[in-house]
Point group: C2
Chain length 235, copies 2
DNA sequence: CGCTAAAGTTAGGCTTGTCGAACTTAGCAT
DNA sequence: ATGCTAAGTTCGACAAGCCTAACTTTAGCG
């Protein structure tokens, strides 16, 4: 049990985070794909994977996709916690909008101390979800989880609560923000009109959404049962 | 006029800041003294000074104490601004005490974006002084300045407002915090009792301070004129 | 089954920032 | 004036991260 915190570099953390995200979504990526994600060339990835392997944070064998070790995953989850708490803080206390907050946190998340994070957590009242509805891991690394379905699988006439919004596109968040599709908002799905589109009632407004967009909004249905088709492909 | 902000590394910023502080207090230091300040060995300093010289942030000639260029000084002042705004924010919004805040900000100050800093500045109402009473440079790099005297030069019977407290010793801040010697506090100097000590009324309490400590408290006298001896040595 | 293109790695180089060991300079003290 | 010591520099090394160019492996396809 060393007293020295082994100090993980920002880059190393970023790699571990990406590996964690991939693992979570059951994807796997090789060096060149990872390289694209980091805006770096392939040999840099090979080198980093080797170093991460030496430190015991990933299991890496040449030509095979890398895997996180438990320790590596722990580091990643701690980073996720910092990321999401910081996002929440910026939105609640510094008037950031949910579409600008992710970018802002990219650097900060690697720098913020345990102490500061704890104060932020307290000020926020130990929130369990971030502004996009993503769960915030606890200090123990556990994630709150709830069963959500994409809006596209809500049955027509069904009411639900928006609970999570995919935050991969900033533009999308802006659009959804205009609609008012923040976590906590109640929506009702109306009869579908046009092919590929989906009608929604949000408050008094009625809205048409493309399937591509609707798929990125996750909801918790109110009582009413979900249309339970055989498992949908690809999600 | 390049669009690329030339990105100054944390280390470089730290060097420039130290050089700036030295310049401000009319001290000069060579490589080994700087090395001690950074917790680094002398050859590292030589190397860094050379690089800072190449970038035009210091004027450096071997064997001579380095000097900041205008550009180097600007970078330092911007860092001072970030540092002091962050300190103020942590104290006002996250319940930090003034004796722990300096440490906390050491990393953060190099990471925080212009945007975040601006939001913090707004939230704080564009404060002009930090929790220790140190002036916060504006975006233009100008420092608010007021004429202060050390408590030791306040005449007996004189009333004054604590305005700045030297923050070089964390322990000292703790002590002064217990006394309640925060900027804004009104104090009256009483007749001196013992040699080297100084009596003070703070609210209803009466307090004895060693000269060493009193010298680190800077006050703004209320109306009453200051005992104007020939310029004191060393301060 | 064998070829080829894509994916991945290796080799060698660069920058920043650090170090220890060895050398040089400056400045003081006799 | 000269010599000694402390301050300062140079040299060679190392680690992290990144790059390009060249090589190797994998895997898909005919
Ligand atoms: Mn990041
Ligand atoms: Mn988020
Ligand atoms: Mn710092
Ligand atoms: Mn301060």
């Amino acid at each position: 049990m060393s007293l020295e915190t082994p100090r993980v570099s920002s880059s190393a953390e970023e790699y571990l985070l990406t590996l964690y995200r991939l693992e979570t979504s059951n994807e796997r990526a090789g060096s060149s794909q990872l390289a694209k994600m980091f805006g770096v060339k392939a040999p840099s990835v090979t080198g980093m994977l080797r170093r991460l392997g030496e430190r015991g944070w990933v299991r890496y064998q040449r030509y095979r996709p890398p895997e996180l070790t438990d320790e590596g995953r722990r580091i990643a989850v701690r980073l996720v916690r910092r990321h999401r708490l910081l996002e929440t803080f910026l939105v609640q206390f510094l008037d950031y909008s949910w579409d600008e907050v992710h970018e802002e946190v990219q650097q900060l998340e690697h720098t913020v101390s345990e102490k500061l994070l704890e104060r932020i957590d307290i000020k926020l009242g130990r929130p369990r979800y971030d502004p996009h509805g993503d769960p915030i891991p606890g200090q123990d690394g556990r994630l709150p989880s709830h069963r959500l379905i994409p809006l596209t699988r809500l049955q027509e006439g069904g009411r639900a609560q928006v609970s999570r919004v995919d935050n991969r596109s900033r533009h999308l968040l802006t659009v959804l923000g205009e609609i008012g599709a923040y976590p906590g908002t109640s929506v009702t799905r109306l009869r579908t009109r046009r092919n590929g589109q989906l009608s929604l009632r949000v408050g008094r407004r009625e809205i048409q959404l493309d399937g591509d967009i609707a798929r990125l909004i996750w909801v918790k249905p109110n009582r009413a049962p979900v249309a339970m088709q055989a498992r949908e492909r690809g999600m």
